[in-house]
Point group: D2
Chain length 336, copies 4
């Protein structure tokens, strides 16, 4: 078995998911080292006694044995980490977004390209079994020409205001997944964006300079369109649905419920709520995306989603924000 | 348009359903007269000012203009009414059962047959659009050879004990619909019956000499089988489902809910209950069965369900009761 | 029983629905006469031998005994009929829209108001049992403050091009129902409209000067919004769904399928399609709306939907068209 | 962290599931050794380079360091393995059934009890998240007193005839899971069994001395009952459903489908089939049951399902077979 050496930077919630998936499911991916600026080394050693740990990410990049890096640090340090990965000639997987700045994103994508560095973006939802099935059904022609994509994407609750302030805003932080999903399912590029940004959940979000509710219209090059509605708070859980309408039919991707019990009583018929934690809802997608990344490293399989996809989703997010601010549809061509 | 003259005997809940359906939907069926021993004539005249009414059913049978009679009197008088219809040469539709006595049922079926009288039985569920669709799907070969029929048939609540005492018992009063449904969907005859009769809802039912819960196993001639579970009380409404399993697939007939609203809140996902009143649940089936009856009279179409079907369902009910009493499987051939 | 005398003008498909519902279900509504410019009198007499018929609608309006008129003529003559009804002091029910001209609509609504004429508009979907249940659930506070209404409204196929040319366009002909539904469910007024009009089904629609696909964003006064997507052709039938999202939950109104059979075979699990004909899908709504109209006439109950509602839906349709033409959001205040 | 040393005997499909689950998810369970009479040592070393392997199970039992054994050998050797585990004082987890012989089962259960050996049986379905939720709902009183349990349990296809011949028959091999499920959900003991055994799938099954279709009625001590229908072949996949009816409501446990895509086309509405491989369908249950076993070893938590449960399910299987042979209901008290 050909093996590759992996390092992981950032060992928060998402970093641990990737680390555990690597250890459990990918014997061909040898986790050589983990680094995190803030994580207590003692805690790490207790949890993962057999792994090498460093408080200085630079050590990982300096390590000649490391073939590829998985970047799970906060968004604000993504650019620096990617820069180091490119400098040290290491392939990389990075959680979305590349960077809050469109310009920096562009530069990094071009540098990675020029250096022949594989750069995969963590648009994990593409690898969710249900969305992946929808994607395959669409590509197979099952519903003919795609005319409309409708995405419902609602979080189960407001994140802390502190988080919101540093998030880059709802479009960049939350809806960016949906912008990528629309491009992915359509298989086409967005031409024009019209968005409304609202504060309907909590007025404090406004004070924090953000919105908590949004409606985004994406017009694609050929006249097909996508509508995305986002809310930071759905009391019934994490609402993640997609509906794709085409000339020969429609595909609905339904929510993933806690269980398959249906209870009938004198009041009604009851089912359990949608899974409400993104790590539960998307557990399989995190595993699958890493499978693709490892496969691309070990077997030279093509990367399923790269830096350019990150750039394009960012372009849409920037256009959406501009549309809200200016109260008019914005062309993607206006942005770059 | 060819027309036929109809008389209705018995103007209780079900008699009114048939009467209104006749008036509203079948211009070719001329309702000539209605009779009821107990219904106040003044009330009737207020509701149906244009219809002829009599307190003596015999008048209807004596009326030479009447071509056919719809019998909706209590079960105890069915036999007498059918007898009169046969004597006076009138075709007849009768609510189930023909009679609580197997012997009398047999005699009446034979007499009607000998006299060339059309005798349709009110096994209305055969004409419910959902069960009818299942029937057609099965006959078309959609699920191959039918191996198993499972029927869930639960009432929304106990009828009055007085009713139970005169009902002929759960098998004859309630499960008889399901016995007919099993024969109808299978298209085969029952060979052996094994049943359990239980009192799980209310001990008073035992005092009334009946059961409120039953499980019936029907073995068909070719080794296929049906299982029927009955309860007098489902707190969530009128539970009327069928599942048919065959060599090439399965058909489920689901309940008919009050509405198609799905409500999501912080507790769960909620739907409305199944329709809980038989007259709502089976509104379409009452209309459809009358359409078949009228069609058979006006256009000489074959009767979809006749006296013999009533006899066969009664045979199963008698066998089920015997099986409960003797704690063993009972052959249909033991009964007649 | 107090009775009122009704006349019906226009005896096409929808006129016949109302006529039959009157005859079958509302004894208190006496259908005094029917008029239609084009319908062959012989045909009418064959179908309704007991009803008075005229080829001149003016006769109905001249008839002093007539209390109220049900107007089911083509849209182009609605205004003239309403005018005559007002002149002759008759209450009226009119199929939507009042008129393709906003100005004429306004004038008629004001005249009826001034004359004390009850003017009910045929926004029948409000009376569909499922939408009505959703409405009641919302009003009861079941899902808290309503933030988003999403309406999917797709026809099962393109109407004839000739029809399209005279229809007033997709917004006025088809989406107007959805505009009314959004107002109805929200219980608030629209402030701004943004719409995209596309031709994705058939290029001939473009030649006919119309669109076949539309996306409309409605912003309400308080910042809540509605999204409506329309298509003239859904191959899987008549797609009529609503989803309402609020601070305490969500309500989905699902499609109404042909039957409740679920078939499992080696290929998958299959259900029947949504009802594909508007007269089947909305059969109950046509009956219910007439019940409200009759109730308003006989018992002085308030009209559930009046001329003003027609005017407001028309305003939205005009704004939507303008938005498509000018490529920008349009304020309702710009229109009137 | 307290640790325990585990050995696994039998490394076929199910043995590998347990082994991988141990390695991936239970750091407190140290897999000390694996043994298999037939598995090629070279293959094992390739797959699990770091684990100790033996071709002689006796070595494991002789190993003093081993605290507990997981027995995944063919049914025919279960008794011998359990015997050795008891002799060597090791706790044990054994796949069902303990043994095809009721007598031997009894003796082993008593010996383990006497020796203070923890003996857990692999009735994995109890630990399936959906069935576990149903169990908890029932125990919480959610549906009142349980009156009826209905279990549908159908395999996706006939196993090889060779397998069938050595399986102990459908009741002992397949339905035994359902007998345990009925006891588990009811929380009561079975008093009487009535069963029908049929050959409807393939006549070769009859030649092999077995049946392929069965209907079993279980009467519980208090008059409540369970109905179980089994088939060796459901063309639509692995059909694993449970329905529990009580005085205050009903719980349905639905099948687990391949994905949550719903496809609408001109033919109908389509969903994916139920998972058709038991290792996929019950993946979570295998992990969960091992969690309970490890927890019982490490933290002295009570065993959730023990040898006595295996014995009771076996008693029901023996009674069911006798009922088929003798064509009558059989009391459990007749068996022991």
């Amino acid at each position: 078995m050909k093996k590759i050496n992996i390092a992981i930077v950032g060992i928060g919630r998402i970093g641990k998911i990737h680390l555990n998936n690597m250890l459990r499911y990918f014997p061909e991916a040898n986790v050589l080292a983990v680094a995190d600026l803030n994580y207590p080394i003692a805690d790490f050693k207790k949890e993962f006694p057999n792994l090498s740990f460093s408080s200085d990410p630079a050590e990982l990049f300096a390590n000649k044995q490391v073939d590829a890096v998985v970047i799970c640090t906060p968004t604000s340090s993504h650019a620096a980490m990617i820069e180091m990965a490119i400098q040290s000639g290491k392939h990389l997987f990075c959680e979305k977004p590349v960077d809050l700045s469109l310009q920096r994103t562009k530069v990094l994508v071009e540098k990675a390209e020029a250096a022949g560095i594989k750069m995969m973006l963590g648009f994990n939802r593409r690898f969710d079994p249900d969305f992946l099935t929808a994607y395959k059904n669409i590509r197979s022609g099952r519903i003919g020409d795609v005319q409309v994509v409708k995405i419902t994407s609602r979080d189960p609750g407001l994140p802390p205001l502190e988080y919101i302030k540093n998030s880059g805003g709802l479009f960049m932080d939350m809806a960016i997944h949906d912008f990528d999903m629309a491009r992915y399912l359509m298989g086409k590029e967005v031409k024009e964006v019209y968005a409304k940004g609202l504060v309907l959940v909590d007025p404090k979000v406004k004070e924090a300079g953000d919105i908590d509710t949004a409606l985004t219209n994406l017009l694609f090059e050929d006249g097909s369109y996508a509508v995305i509605d986002n809310s930071r708070k759905a009391v019934y859980g994490y609402d993640q649905r997609v509906e794709v309408f085409g000339s020969k039919g429609m595909i609905q991707v339904e929510n993933n419920l806690h269980n398959r019990n249906v209870v009938f009583d004198s009041e009604g018929i009851h089912q359990s709520l949608p899974l409400d934690f993104f790590m539960d809802r998307y557990a399989a997608s995190y595993l699958n995306e890493m499978r693709y990344f490892v496969d691309s490293l070990v077997n030279q399989a093509p990367l399923p989603v790269g830096g350019l996809d990150g750039l394009k989703a960012t372009l849409i997010a920037v256009a959406a924000k501009k549309s809200v601010e200016e109260g008019r549809p914005v062309l993607i061509s206006e942005i770059s």
